[in-house]
């Protein structure tokens, strides 16, 4: 009994000190919308502040009148109730005045809508595709196409390591864009509905399967801007951040060249790998890396999955059965289920290795090996 009391007291003390510490650390409390660094974000911020002040004034008048009555017109003060209970004149007045305020408010709001919708004459077009739970960026007209995935390590999320400064708002490969250019985003999705949102840009648009939505931005200051998926998209909805790195034009060109070179090398490497014949060990080692990056969010590190939506692989017919069928599922996905096609995301050698890994993991040492050429045949 006593020890329980001491334990609770200690926990309370820890919580209290945490509260105090966090107040001390975050001296600056974020209580308002960021003003952002684009013309649209500034327009939105101004609209937000205008409507906020209007609301404050209305609230002060209404609540002022109300509390004045509450203080003065009490029975305990001997106040006698008045008899009035109807007045068409005041009803008309307090219908008309709010209407006028709204009309005044609607003018800048309408201009804001038109500004946001004018995505013409863009300098750069980027297709953004939402996947359960990562973003894919394709630069239209450039040979650039990559995925951007949460970079926060799992042990930080599970409280086994100290959380970093950009906890949950960091990715392996940010979206790099130049400043002072009109950038048009074309948004779509591969599976469920996501929403691409970066508060500093005031860009939020749903990424919907079967639709292509448009949005645009024009960034005025270099910097790193962080956002998140804003539409509930399943289990790891909270774990698909967006990082936009805005840089000077020259730096952007360097990045473009570097990225293209990197992609060329990757493709060449994949092509070389596809020619190669791999032994079991090499396949399993590589396959495990591919699995951790692409498969384990759903099928779990143990291969036990989260059935029935994300079925277990361990002991399943898939990894025990026909190899070609196994490859086909990874390549083309399964319609009507959450299993997506990985044809676009993974190279032949990656699929070969992950299939090999799955057939030799979790206690099933089948010894099956799958070569990139097997995958190429079924692609």
């Amino acid at each position: 009994m006593l020890s329980a009391f001491v334990r609770v007291t200690k926990q309370l003390a820890v919580i209290a000190s945490l509260l105090l510490m966090s107040w001390a650390v975050h001296a600056e409390w974020e209580v308002n919308m960021p003003k952002g660094i684009t013309p649209i974000s500034e327009t939105v911020y101004d609209l937000h502040m205008i409507i906020f002040y209007i609301c404050v004034v209305i609230a002060v008048i209404v609540f002022g009148g109300m509390f004045w009555s509450i203080i003065h017109h009490r029975k305990s003060k001997g106040h006698q109730p008045a008899n009035f209970h109807e007045s068409t004149t005041v009803e008309i007045i307090w219908t008309a005045i709010p209407l006028l305020i709204l009309v005044v408010m609607a003018i800048p709001a309408t201009q804001g809508v038109f500004a946001m919708y004018n995505s013409d004459d863009s300098d750069i077009d980027i297709q953004v595709t939402g996947y359960q739970w990562k973003w894919r960026y394709q630069f239209i007209g450039e040979d650039i196409d990559y995925f951007s995935v949460l970079a926060t390590p799992r042990d930080q999320i599970n409280n086994q390591a100290t959380k970093g400064e950009h906890y949950l708002l960091e990715v392996d490969e940010p979206l790099v864009v130049p400043i002072h250019k009109k950038i048009r985003f074309l948004l779509t999705s591969n599976d469920v509905i996501h929403a691409w949102w970066v508060p500093e840009l005031a860009v939020k648009k749903d990424a919907i399967p079967g639709f292509i939505n448009e949005s645009w931005t024009y960034i005025k200051e270099p910097g790193t801007y962080r956002g998140q998926c804003a539409e509930l998209c399943g289990k790891d909805h909270g774990f698909m951040p967006i990082v936009v790195k805005a840089v000077e034009e020259s730096e952007y060109q360097d990045w473009l060249n570097e990225k293209k070179e990197q992609r060329r090398l990757e493709l060449a490497k994949a092509a070389a790998e596809a020619e190669q014949t791999w032994d079991l060990n090499e396949l399993v080692t590589k396959g495990q890396q591919v699995y951790e990056k692409n498969c384990q969010a759903c099928h779990q590190p143990t291969g036990e999955g989260l059935p029935p939506v994300f079925p277990a692989l361990k002991g399943s017919a898939i990894i025990k059965g026909d190899i070609a069928e196994h490859i086909r599922v990874v390549l083309h996905g399964r319609t009507g289920t959450a299993m997506a096609s990985y044809a676009a995301q993974l190279s032949d050698s990656e699929i070969a290795s992950v299939v090999t890994y799955e057939r030799n993991a979790w206690g099933q040492n089948s010894g099956d090996t799958v070569q990139p050429s097997d995958v190429a045949e079924l692609r």
Binding site: H26, H79, L102, M116, W197, P209
Partner: protein
């Protein structure tokens, strides 16, 4: 025969009534059914509230502490579904069952057997819904708005049970609404013209029309889901030529009137209570009726303001922005009328009045943030953040829930025959008031600073406000146990016996019958002049 109808007391003795469980299972009495609805809603409040506890415990600190993301999603979904369909709606139907016949001088509801059925569907619907939590793959995990294709192609198998549950709730709501409309239009006492009806009856009449209009739309929506899941159709599946955005149009065509279904009866409740405790007639009765009807009509043409970021054409964006802004006008009229009713009154502040005053203040805050949300360009920043969560909790908790609590304190002397403990009720009020503002006010800041809704874990800059919010939620939730205690005390007959009319300034037919109201009232219609 003649002496049995002159006194309702004697009538009770002569009618054969089932005893024990049978009385409640087979009852066709509006007061018993009202009680059943209210008890059901109270039970669901603690289940839905328990889920809010789980959510807030997980969000107390950054990192995953207690539950995994997939269970977190089930909790947010179920919390929303239960609070909307299991707490607020049944509580208002319960209040309508109890009070509408008493207020219009009718002996019972017009369709008593259907009344019984519409209640008894509910426990089955919710047992089915809750049981899905224990099924393989868990319960619904796609948010209470269940957007396709997350709720179809990517949903757990238990979604079929969810769909059937929603169908049953819809059936119950439609029958309840038909009953209320029929009762109000046909069974008013002589002299009780429509424009003499108490505001609570008016708001419920309008709400009932909303229910009949939109519950079938919801039914259609979930039926299309069912077809997509089991029968190979592609209503919402883009790969098959379907349209995921159509889901949202259909859902919100139901969903927006639905939010008014949850608030209009509360408007009615405070319109009864404020005049009673200000000892002054409701200011602008006629304009209150017209304002309520305007809100109801407008609610059908604003739905896409929930979808500003979905990629609507600019013209649609503007139309829905203007129509949404317009709703502020009749809502404003209502608030101004309540304040004018208080003005130059002779006010006292018993618990029903405290909750009603808090209703006016806090609902207005929720209304004002709603006005902010209507501004389409700004909504691109607010949409799907905690700012929205703050907004709708400000209209639903101090709005709908405070309305229900105020109604309970106001009428429980009539229901139970005993006065509640005023001192405890005041403690209940202040703790609730503090707890709810601690919970929901910081959510505005979180949303503006960029925290998306429905996430189980968050970036470090959101930690402080989340901690405050969680502490507030624990306080608010725990305080409701006090409410339970106060209500149980009344039900058990502990407390002062209530006089026929416990509130000095109260008006209406319900105060002309004894406390507790006998099982049968107004066997002979009262005369209203």
């Amino acid at each position: 025969m003649s002496d049995t109808i002159t006194s309702s007391d004697t009538l009770d003795h002569h009618e054969p009534h089932a005893k024990g469980l049978g009385r409640w299972l087979f009852t066709t009495n509006h007061k018993d059914i009202g009680t059943l609805y209210l008890i059901f809603s109270f039970v669901m409040l603690f289940i839905g509230g328990g889920m809010a506890f789980v959510i807030r415990a997980e969000l107390f600190q950054p990192g995953l502490q207690f539950i995994q993301p997939e269970f977190f999603n089930q909790m947010t979904t179920m919390h929303g579904l239960i609070m909307v369909f299991g707490v607020v709606m049944p509580a208002f139907v319960g209040l309508a069952n109890w009070m509408v016949p008493l207020m219009i001088g009718a002996p019972d509801m017009a369709l008593p057997r259907m009344n019984n059925w519409s209640f008894w569907i509910m426990p089955f619907a919710f047992t089915m819904l809750l049981s899905s939590l224990f099924m393989d793959g868990g319960g619904p995990n796609f948010g209470w708005t269940f957007y396709a294709p997350l709720s179809t192609t990517y949903a757990p198998p238990s979604t079929t049970f969810f769909i059937f549950g929603v169908h049953l709730m819809g059936l119950s709501s439609i029958m309840g609404a038909i009953n209320i409309i029929t009762t109000v239009l046909n069974m008013r006492a002589p002299g009780m013209t429509l424009m003499k009806m108490p505001m609570f009856v008016w708001t419920w009449l309008i709400t009932a029309f909303l229910l009949i209009a939109v519950m079938p739309v919801l039914a259609g929506c979930v039926t299309m889901m069912l077809m997509d899941i089991h029968f190979g159709t592609s209503f919402f599946n883009a790969a098959g030529g379907g349209d995921p955005v159509m889901f949202q149009h259909v859902f919100w065509f139901f969903g927006h009137p639905e939010v008014y279904i949850m608030i209009l009866p509360a408007f009615g409740v405070v319109s009864q209570i404020i005049p009673a405790f200000a000892r002054k007639k409701l200011f602008g009765y006629h304009s209150m009726v017209y304002a309520t009807a305007s809100i109801a009509i407008l609610s059908f043409i604003v739905w896409a303001h929930h979808m500003f970021t979905v990629g609507l054409p600019a013209a649609a964006e503007l139309f829905f922005m203007y129509s949404t802004m317009l709703i502020a006008v009749p809502t404003g009229v209502k608030v101004f009328n309540w304040v004018s009713t208080m003005f130059k009154g002779s006010m006292t502040f018993e618990a029903p009045m405290l909750f009603s005053v808090a209703f006016v203040v806090l609902f207005t805050i929720g209304g004002l943030s709603g006005l902010m949300l209507s501004i389409a360009p700004a909504d691109f920043q607010y949409h799907d953040t905690y700012f929205v969560v703050a907004h709708f909790h400000y209209v639903l908790v101090p709005g709908a829930i405070f309305g229900i609590i105020a109604a309970t304190y106001f009428w429980i002397p009539k229901w139970s025959g005993y006065m509640y403990n005023e001192g405890l009720a005041k403690v209940h009020f202040w703790l609730s008031f503090i707890g709810l503002n601690l919970t929901f006010f910081p959510m505005h800041f979180l949303g503006l600073a960029g925290m998306p809704r429905r996430i189980p874990d968050y970036a470090l800059q959101f930690a402080d406000f989340n901690m405050i919010t969680s502490l507030g939620a624990f306080l608010f939730g725990t305080t409701q146990l006090l409410f339970l205690y106060i209500v149980i005390q009344c039900a058990r007959g502990k407390g002062e016996p209530a006089p026929q009319k416990p509130w000095e300034g109260a008006e209406g037919l319900e105060w002309t019958v004894p406390s507790p109201a006998p099982l049968h009232t107004f066997e002979q219609p009262p005369k209203v002049d």
